[in-house]
Symmetry: C2
Subunit: 202 residues, 2 copies
Amino acid sequence: MKKKNTDLRIVRTKQSIRKAFYELIQEKGYEAITIQDIADRAMINRNTFYLHYQNKPDLLDTCMDELLSELQQTVVLCPFHMNPFRMSRLETVMQAVLEHISGSITFYYAMLVEESRIYPFRAKMEAIIKGKLDEGWKPAQRNSPLAVSKELLLEYLVSAFMGIVIWWIKNDRPLPAGEVSSQFSRIVTYGHLKAAGIAVEE
Amino acid sequence: MKKKNTDLRIVRTKQSIRKAFYELIQEKGYEAITIQDIADRAMINRNTFYLHYQNKPDLLDTCMDELLSELQQTVVLCPFHMNPFRMSRLETVMQAVLEHISGSITFYYAMLVEESRIYPFRAKMEAIIKGKLDEGWKPAQRNSPLAVSKELLLEYLVSAFMGIVIWWIKNDRPLPAGEVSSQFSRIVTYGHLKAAGIAVEE
DNA sequence: ATAAATAAACAACACGATGTTCATTATTTA
DNA sequence: TAAATAATGAACATCGTGTTGTTTATTTAT
């Protein structure tokens, strides 16, 4: 049974807060926002904010969960084959995600891109790795049927690289460095099907 | 010409601040640290902190740059072939990075893992993607010479996936969603060499 | 060795944001 | 129409920040 906020004052206030928050996030970034900012923009008293949310992180959580549950829906309902071209599983999911994101691009921008301005460590580290991987590219072969943009490929490599590194740190270094390195290298080089020895429904 | 801090008081103070900061970061996380915390731990007056650093982010920046310039050194000097087994370029760099990280594991943990507790959006989104990709795995083939751990492979896929998504958002959607999806899918499936039509020195 | 320079300590302050309390006013629901 | 409750407005204590003086201790230069 859903607790329904039948009182119009409540839904109206919550809406204004949410709207103000989204606007402010893209104007000055999450960190710089004060409760007073939100109250001013939403044209409510600052106390009223505390009537509905515990604090700023609480509001953020609510917004995140709201949007991510939409994403969840989008992804869960995502069929294995969604069109006549028999797109792969990954391709299908990726496309669905990108299209969902397009509908709420400013919030996703704030959450995923702005974030790296406040915690620039990951981005700085990525830049170093990227610089190294960027050395020694050979020019693309002409008319290669599979050719992808260099920029995209480089981003792909660096992201996977960083992801594995962070996974390794988070899980308290479950494998020796040499083992991780060689497995990573194999996946990158041969693709996930061959590398894994795993069959994935395509 | 290097500006040398010949005054022992300065180097001593800076060292204590740095040490205190590193300790506190792993004890309570960056966000929760106050200047007073650092001053107490370093056994200096709070004002003395402001004599050397502008604020907390400034101190963080200094520490980051210090560590990342070490990483830079490690990576730049990283030879293309570092051992008789003819490791690939990626493998070599990965191994060097992991070994470097092991030497400062607590700071890297704080910067790369703890971060996601403060900005949990990316992690939450990753979990959704991971859940979807985790469906429909087939068991690994026995004795596959290239077999890698499922956990590592899944992390690899999700990280690359998220990296491309963020790249796409950050660069103001430079390609249509369908194009990104199909290129991504190709790289994952066929490996970067075939997918790119690019020869990379191995 | 001594004097000038300066790092560090100590106290005080203004400022801004947070989160809470309480009385009052406005709006909704019964 | 009356009771319930959402919203307002003012006040307050608390905390962390960053700054400004003054005094003490240590280092550097003469």
